[in-house]
Amino acid sequence: MNAPAYNFAYLDEQTKRMIRRAILKAIAIPGYQVPFASREMPMPYGWGTGGVQVTAAILGPEDVLKVIDQGSDDTTNAISIRKFFAKTAGVATTTATDEATVIQTRHRIPETALHENQVLVYQVPIPEPLRFLEPRETETRRMHALAEYGLMHVKLYEDIARFGHIATAYAYPVKVNARYVMDPSPTPKFDNPKMDNCAALQLFGAGREKRIYAIPPYTKVVSLDFEDHPFEPYRFNAPCALCGAENSYLDEIVTDDKGGRMFVCSDTDYCEGRQAAGHHGSLSAAPYKEKAGSHG
């Protein structure tokens, strides 16, 4: 028997049709969470089952897939999802943002600007931005229906009252097309401005919570704020230690137990691209050192 063990891209055709219909309605109503009959996937909830189902429903044999986890192409989650689709759909994979047609992401938007022939698929843990303020689904649904988002502004105000500034650093709420307040998934708020007027289609899948939502290309996405406390993206005030980038989102890496630390780009493809183009940071390894075998 030569029959393939799985349908193309793992999901059966009826499931794909159901997800595809949900995606079309999600695009037609930007920022609105469309319920869908999420399936069990061969990976645990919290590992991107929603994003994987969206990717499986849109992926074709000509697509080039990139998967990132916190900006990195090389972490367990990213590698296992990339291998999953290489195996079940036989698609080409890449780590280069430019070359990808479908990018599945956990909690980052690539630094390289996206273009029109790309789809960005987000893995979402809690799609409902109001959930921690109001636990009842019936109530949050009513609040979205009435565009009643005062509670969210109260939450941001309480941040200011307590800390002197809006302390929400990730999953920072946005308003899409001047109507729905939406959770951008736990991306750092540094990434929020990239969602606004983006050339690529953005799709969001939440597997456990069974919701799909979308931002069409060139759609207005505004981070909630106040006139006297405007939205400000946050990044560590340092250049990348490997490529010297001054404008990328940085990870803090603890290097010893004496308070030593380094800051490096969270987007590994962006950082490697800059290093290949000759940019250096304060901790870049000089090539001749390696040849000499000197260490430490």
Partner: protein
């Protein structure tokens, strides 16, 4: 009387053809006014264009009640073909239809008759699939809205000629509303409920 065996076939490769068709429709919905092509072909039926047939095979199943306009419904081959290939129930009540297939735009019922969703569940609305004469020539309409970089011009010959005037009710209804997919042979253009007419020339 056509038997099942004599009905035109569905997709030759139902998995990859459905994927390719869906991507065309998704791109159309994400970029309203842009003309996308549907490449895979299924057997064509007299009143149903090949683009419509491909969309039917891609999106319809037992979960999607269909409403057919009179010209589509009077062709028993279309009914048989849809039933055999998709299994979708054909309903008489427009207000419970997931999809409505319109081949005679001049006889398009008032748009308020279709499911428009609720404020809580605006996604529970009919997607109108309207066959038109041409996407690429005819009157031009300037469109704005999410998915469009500034504005875009759609040239199309559409019946009913006042379709965009009728669709203006989407503006007041939002987030409820009607999403429209225009099909001309293998070309497809989507007009989701967020799309607005900027200004119209004749």
């Amino acid at each position: 009387m056509t038997t099942i065996a004599e009905l035109p076939p569905g997709f030759a490769d139902r998995v990859l053809s459905a994927q390719s068709t869906f991507r065309s429709v998704m791109d159309a919905m994400a970029r309203p006014g842009s003309v996308q092509r549907i490449v895979p072909t299924a057997g064509a039926l007299h009143t149903m264009m090949r683009g419509t047939a491909a969309i039917a095979l891609t999106l319809f199943d037992h979960d999607t009640p269909l409403w057919l306009d009179a010209r589509m419904a009077e062709n028993s081959d279309v009914m048989k073909w849809l039933k055999f290939h998709t299994g979708a129930p054909v309903v008489q009540d427009t207000s419970i239809a997931s999809f409505a297939l319109i081949s005679d735009g001049a006889a398009l019922p008032p748009l308020e008759c279709f499911a428009l969703g609720t404020n809580e569940y605006p996604d529970r609305s009919t997607t109108l699939i309207l066959q038109v004469d041409s996407l690429g020539s005819g009157r031009s309409v300037e469109l704005r809205g999410p998915g469009i970089d500034g504005s875009t011009t759609l040239q199309a010959s559409i019946k009913p000629f006042d379709l965009f005037e009728r669709l203006r009710f989407n503006e007041a209804l939002f987030p409820r509303g009607l999403d429209v997919v225009l099909v001309a042979d293998d070309a497809v253009v989507a007009i989701p409920r967020t799309t607005r007419v900027a200004n119209k020339e004749s």
